[in-house]
C-alpha cells in the first residue's frame, strides 16, 4: 500500500520577520515629534545598528518595541503580537522575550551581581514567588553558567557598585540572557565605556547574536563601531529613517546626511 506523503518544501515556507514597524509615529506632549512614519522590519537572527544624532529618536524606537513608551500612531508587531493592542498580561509575556541593556546599566547597585542577574527571571515568576525571590536551584545554576560565559564568576557575590563600567554592562547582558530572549535591545551600550571595555561588550554581543541566534538591535553613536559589528544599518534623523541597508553601501555622504553636518565636522573625520 502506498501511504500518502505530504511533501513540504522548506525553501518555500514564508518566514515572518520577528519585528515589524508600520508607519509608527510618536509625539510627546502634543508638541515634540520624536518619530514620524517609521517603517522597517527585522528578521530573526539579524544584527541591526541604529545610528543618528542625539535626539533623533533612536532611544524612542527601542522603547516603543517593549512598550516602555506608547506609540501615538502606527503599529508594531513582535513575533506575532501587536504591541499596541496588547493588554497588561500580554505585554508582560512580550517583555519576557525581549532583553534590554542600557547606557547606564540600570542595575540595582546595592544588590549582588548574582541577584541582579536573577532579576531576568522575574518575568517568568508568578506574582508571589517573584516577590519572595523564589528562584529554583536550576535557575541559580544557569545564572552562574551565564556569568561564566561572560567572565564574571569571580564577581558573583560582589555588590554591583563595586564593579567597573565594563563589568556592570556585562551584568546587564547576563540579566538579559536569563530571560532567554528572542530579541536583545541595546540602548547606547558602550557610550559610557572606555575603548577596551567597549570592544569586550561588542564582542560579547556579536557572539550572542551569531551563536545563540538572538536578534540584536543596538543604538550606537560611533558609526565605525556600527559598521564593523552590524550586518545592517538604519540611519535616523529627526525621527525619520534616512538609510536602511548594509554597512558596505553606507557612503560618507550618506553619513553626513544622517548627521546633518558637513565634511570635517564629525569626530570620525578626524585623523
Amino acid at each position: 500500500m502506498v501511504r500518502p506523503v505530504s511533501i513540504i518544501n522548506i525553501e518555500t515556507v514564508v518566514h515572518m520577520p520577528i519585528l515589524e514597524f508600520k508607519n509608527v509615529s510618536k509625539i510627546y506632549d502634543n508638541t515634540t515629534k520624536a518619530l514620524t512614519d517609521v517603517s522597517f522590519s527585522v528578521d530573526e537572527g539579524e544584527f541591526v545598528s541604529i545610528i543618528g544624532p542625539s535626539g533623533s529618536g533612536k532611544s524612542t524606537i527601542l522603547r516603543c518595541i517593549n512598550r516602555l513608551v506608547d506609540v501615538t500612531q502606527g503599529s508594531i508587531m513582535f513575533d506575532g503580537h501587536d504591541i499596541n493592542r496588547a493588554d497588561k498580561k500580554e505585554i508582560r509575556q512580550v517583555r519576557k522575550k525581549i532583553g534590554m541593556i542600557f547606557q547606564h546599566y540600570n542595575l540595582v547597585e546595592r544588590l549582588s551581581v548574582i541577584e541582579n542577574v536573577l532579576h531576568g527571571r522575574l518575568g517568568y515568576k508568578s506574582a508571589i514567588s517573584g516577590i519572595v525571590s523564589g528562584y529554583t536551584e536550576e535557575e541559580k545554576e544557569k545564572a552562574f553558567q551565564i556569568l561564566a560565559m561572560l567572565g564574571l564568576t569571580e564577581q558573583a557575590y560582589k555588590r554591583c557598585d563595586e564593579l567597573s563600567g565594563g563589568q556592570k554592562q556585562r551584568v546587564g547582558i547576563a540579566r538579559s540572557l536569563m530571560q532567554e530572549p528572542r530579541l536583545l535591545l541595546c540602548d547606547e551600550p558602550i557610550a559610557s565605556l572606555d575603548p577596551g571595555s567597549s570592544k569586550v561588550i561588542m564582542d560579547h554581543l556579536r557572539v550572542i547574536n551569531e551563536t545563540m541566534k538572538i536578534t540584536c538591535i543596538a543604538n550606537l553613536h560611533q558609526v565605525s563601531v556600527a559598521m564593523r559589528y552590524a550586518k545592517r544599518i538604519i540611519g535616523i534623523t529627526s525621527g525619520q529613517i534616512m538609510y536602511d541597508g548594509s554597512p558596505d553601501e553606507l557612503t560618507k555622504s550618506k553619513i553626513y546626511e544622517i548627521y546633518q553636518s558637513d565634511e570635517g565636522e564629525l569626530i570620525t573625520d578626524v585623523r
Binding site: 541577584e115 535557575e139 561564566a148 569571580e154 558573583a156 555588590r159 540572557l177 545563540m212
Partner: protein, 289 residues
Amino acid sequence: MSELDIAGGLPISLDISKYMRKTRGGKIKTATKSKSDFAIKMTIFVLLTLTVYGFATFDYKNIDMARAAIGTWNNVKVLFGQPRLTYSTWGATLHALLVTFFLGALATIFGAIIAFFGALLCARNIANPYVASMTKSFVAFIRAVPTILWVLIFTVAAGLGSVAAVIGLTFHSAGYLIKAYAEAIEEVEEGTIEALKACGAGFWQIVFQAIVPSSISRMTAWTFLRFEINFTNALAVGAAAGVGGIGFDLYMAGNHYFDLRELGFITYVVVAAVIFLEMIATRIKATVR
C-alpha cells in the same frame, strides 16, 4: 540538567560550582555579605523593638480609644466645617498673624547675621580646622536644646514678650543657617580662593571678593527656607509660651475658650499662611537647583 538552555553550546570548562556559596541545606546563596546590609537589618530590628516596647509601656490613663476617635472625628467636622470667630476679630487675627510673621523675620535676620560670621569660622575651606570643630560642637550644643526651652529660659531674664521669643528663636535659626552657609561656602571652587591668596589678598578681601559673590544666591535661598521654619516655630512658641501672635490666639481658642469654631478659623488662616510660604520656598528651591 536544566530546562533552560543558553543555546550555542559554548564550552564552559570551568568548574563553576566552586564559585557558588551554599547554605547548610545545599541551596545556592544569592546575597552579598556586606556590613551595610547587616547594619540596616539591625537598625530596623532595634527601631521596631523600641516601638513595640514603647507601645507596651505608655501610660494610656484608661483612655477609651473608640470614644476618643469618634470625638476627634466630630471635632474635625466642626473645626473644618464651621469656622467662626467669636472672641477675636478679623483685624486682631490679621494683626496676630503679622506679629508671628515678623517675629520669624527678626529671628531670621539675627540668625543670618550671626550665621554669616559663624559660617566663616566653620567652613572647611577657609577656616582653621581647630576653630571649625570647636564652632561646630558649640553649634551642635545650641541646637540640642529645643527652641521652646531657649525661649522660656530667656523669658526669666528678659521678661515675657517679643524679646525673649526672638532671642530664643534666633538660637536655632543661627545654628541651622551656620550649617547651611558653611555648606555654601565649601562649595566655592578652591581655585578661586587659591588665586586670590596667591595675589596676596587678605582674609576679609577673599571673603568679600570671592566667597560672597559665589555663594550669595545659595545663602539667600537657605535664608528664605529658614524663614518658613521660623514662622512655624514662632507659631509654636506663641502657643506654648504665651508670647503673642497667632500661635497664642490658637492656644487661647483651644485651651481657654474651648471654642472649636474659633480654633478652626485660626487653623485655616495658619494653614493658608504656611502653604503660601511653602509655595514661595518651592519656587526658590527650584532656582537654586
